[in-house]
């Protein structure tokens, strides 16, 4: 189908279509410079708006605030939640390490003796011994 365009014209259009890419490339390399007068006008508008009564300041984006070395270190560890977990584990480790074994046995002994006869003796304790002091036959 030639869309009613004479063949010679069609060839010229096809050739031009290919040359257009080079033309676009030339256009891409050229640009209007931003002259000083226009820059001044744009900045004057910006300044006028900044001088106007301002809305409450918004928080500066995190990207705009350069983090300190400590913050960078924490970020490396996975952020504040990870650091909090690490601190908890450290304190627990310290407690286990400094606690005397006796105290540890005291803590764990309850579980160890749960199956011993001493433990079952707990259930043989006379819970109502106070009644022994009451007069008999009253």
């Amino acid at each position: 189908m030639n869309w009613g365009i004479p063949m010679a014209d069609k060839d010229r259009i096809t050739a031009m279509d290919q040359e257009l890419d080079a033309l676009f490339a030339t256009a891409r390399r050229q640009s209007l410079p931003l002259d000083e007068a226009l820059t001044d006008r744009i900045l004057a508008d910006a300044l006028a708006l900044q001088s106007a009564p301002a809305a409450p300041a918004r928080p500066v984006p995190a990207q705009a605030v350069r983090p300190g070395r400590l913050a960078q270190f924490f970020a490396l560890l996975g952020g504040w939640p990870a650091v909090a977990g690490l601190a908890t584990a450290t304190v627990a480790g310290l407690w286990i390490g400094t606690t005397s074994p006796d105290m540890l046995y005291a803590q764990t002994g309850l579980f160890e003796s749960a199956s011993s006869s001493e433990a079952s003796d707990l259930y043989l304790v006379d819970a109502f011994s106070a009644f022994d002091a009451l007069p008999a036959g009253g």
Binding site: D9, M16, L20, L23, Q30, L32, T39, V60
Partner: protein, 197 residues
């Protein structure tokens, strides 16, 4: 502000600079102007074919950017996408107001390149003028799509976002636009120094 601080802020993206601007930072305004205004100016020049109008559009588009800064929502849209959209709308308004006018020939950007020969410069100039005239003859949406794709070098999805249409519609607009440009310029091939064969 020192050059060092200027350079440090220059590493920030447009979103961050816009928030700093909204918080009263003058350096952010200078950086955003230097970064974005040339792009707006050149895009507007391609769409209107008129440098003076392109400058007015650039000032207006940047003013709208300053105004929206306090309400800008980071991450919702890219600043450049928003700015290209505003620029195109401003250009469309101006083109509709001046229906029937002709584009001044000095609207096409001057070459800023590597000292080409005089004849080559004149030929490039003639070709750029012819290209601009052919662009001016396209329907507005086709012109915008062709300029964004072939001169600004954007991808079809980026153009789709700017023009708020689907990617297929962008492909259709650019294909039809390029074909129309080829048709318009085919008759001037000899004049523009293109030879057959």
């Amino acid at each position: 502000m020192s050059d060092m601080a200027f350079d440090a802020l220059d590493e920030l993206d447009d979103d961050a600079l816009l928030v700093l601007f909204a918080n009263g930072d003058g350096t952010a305004a200078r950086l955003l102007t230097r970064r974005l205004a040339p792009r707006v100016l050149n895009h507007a020049a391609r769409l209107t074919g008129d440098r003076a109008e392109a400058e007015d559009v650039t000032q207006e588009a940047m003013l709208r950017l300053w105004r929206i800064a306090p309400d800008w929502r980071r991450g919702e849209a890219r600043v450049t996408t928003w700015l290209y959209r505003v620029t195109a709308n401003l250009c469309t308004d101006r083109l509709r107001r001046r229906r029937g006018g002709t584009a001044p020939l000095d609207s096409v950007p001057e070459p800023e390149d590597e000292h080409p020969g005089v004849a080559e410069t004149m030929q490039d100039r003639a070709r750029m003028d012819a290209l601009q005239q052919a662009l001016d003859g396209l329907p507005e949406r086709q012109r915008q799509a062709v300029v964004l794709r072939h001169i600004e070098g954007m991808t079809n999805p980026e153009i789709a976002e700017i023009m708020e249409i689907g990617v297929e519609a962008v492909e259709s607009l650019t294909a039809r636009g390029k074909r129309a440009l080829a048709t318009a310029l085919a008759g001037r091939r000899d004049e523009l120094g293109y030879t057959d064969g």
